[in-house]
Symmetry: C2
Subunit: 275 residues, 2 copies
Amino acid sequence: MKWKRSERLVDITHHLLEHPHKLIPLTYFSDLYQSAKSSISEDLGIVKETFEEKGIGLLVTVPGAAGGVKYVPKLHVEAARAIIQELMEELGHSDRLLPGGYLFMTDILGNPSIMNRVGKVFATAFANEKIDVIMTVATKGIPIAHAIARHLNVPVVVVRRDSKVTEGSTVSINYVSGSSRRIQTMVLSKRSMKSGQRVLITDDFMKVGGTMNGMKNLLEEFDCSLAGVAVLVEAQHSNEQLVENYLSLVKLREVSEKQRTIALEEGNYFTNGGF
Amino acid sequence: MKWKRSERLVDITHHLLEHPHKLIPLTYFSDLYQSAKSSISEDLGIVKETFEEKGIGLLVTVPGAAGGVKYVPKLHVEAARAIIQELMEELGHSDRLLPGGYLFMTDILGNPSIMNRVGKVFATAFANEKIDVIMTVATKGIPIAHAIARHLNVPVVVVRRDSKVTEGSTVSINYVSGSSRRIQTMVLSKRSMKSGQRVLITDDFMKVGGTMNGMKNLLEEFDCSLAGVAVLVEAQHSNEQLVENYLSLVKLREVSEKQRTIALEEGNYFTNGGF
């Protein structure tokens, strides 16, 4: 079957979107469509221009025999800002207030469309970093970790509070939770990471940063290094911050249980290098 | 700015892929590109043909003033079979064998590309069902639930073993785990579901089906109904099966710890109505 340019454009777009951060040789497309490389190059030129114009991402071309094209998800700054604004509006509803000043966020973490956009916002910030693995802690960080991972094309590892037989051999550490100063345990399957990997850690919520700090300590046990920290919502507090370099989308400034108000502001995403 | 057809095709493809199972009015595209509806219809005709030819999915056109176009992810049967075969190969490596005859699957659940394809296989099977919510139990079902949810454009709710303050008010039930016959507890946030919703339940592994059955019981507490059951790996056993109607991708027939062999076969996906 002979493919028309219009059909190739649709199929190439789908293929690239399904394989972010993966180098695809031009011969893959020219063989698939039985088209000359020059035609494929023209196709990719159109895709590249549209992806950049619309803030879908970049198409990076690597020349040479081992070369090809790579789709790098990257939002425009206005789109990232709009997603963060939408999150703040969503989170600001007073019926999210729980006893103790906690914020109900489970529905947001369960919304695949919001998670997809949050993932792309973080993938944009880490588009040029070398990241091998995304690490989170069970349970609520998992959707965020997977959303980022899909855009960066790297695996997710999940730290647990308890050891399970289905994890095989594990490495376990104790750490001090930030706010309550309690000793807690973290467990990760030994097979999860290889030494020397660069790890992005993420979670839905961070106050003092005890859990994040625990994950940082766990990285050392695996001889891995920290590539970045991504937080959906950080909370204002007066204690010493345990994690210094992180990106947050939203900051919870103050909660009044009595007046049922939630004060939010933009996180440090834009000021701390998200763009 | 005036958009060319080639650019519109790339952008329409991206927009549809990002919004599965969502009705998009033709005016959305004609306003966005400042193009006549007849041009947009032609664009959509090309996208539709390519999506169907390549097994990306269907484009369903709803006529009339409230009409529009809807992208329904749907694989070709050969693609679904190839994904299941790949899973079986992945799962069949003898180094996955854990003490007690368990299978290490954590890396597969942490692989966003495999999860994306698994999600599309299940989304294909449930493409014509009315599904409002996808339910799973923490921790390992979460990536599968989110992968399916993204293709069906519905929220995920996560059942937990324990109640947490950040969940707000919860509903809790006791159930009997299938194999060990122990009484266990399941907890779900009250805000998770509304009465009358149709729920697809999913998990990474099922033996007798105790956990699935527990989730079914939990549905009743919320006056919700079961729309389907999706399992990544089911295990052969001689007990009475607690869940009758389910789709599985892979069946674990036998494990020999001594000989370090794993016997797998295709699950009931194709025989039980996946296609």
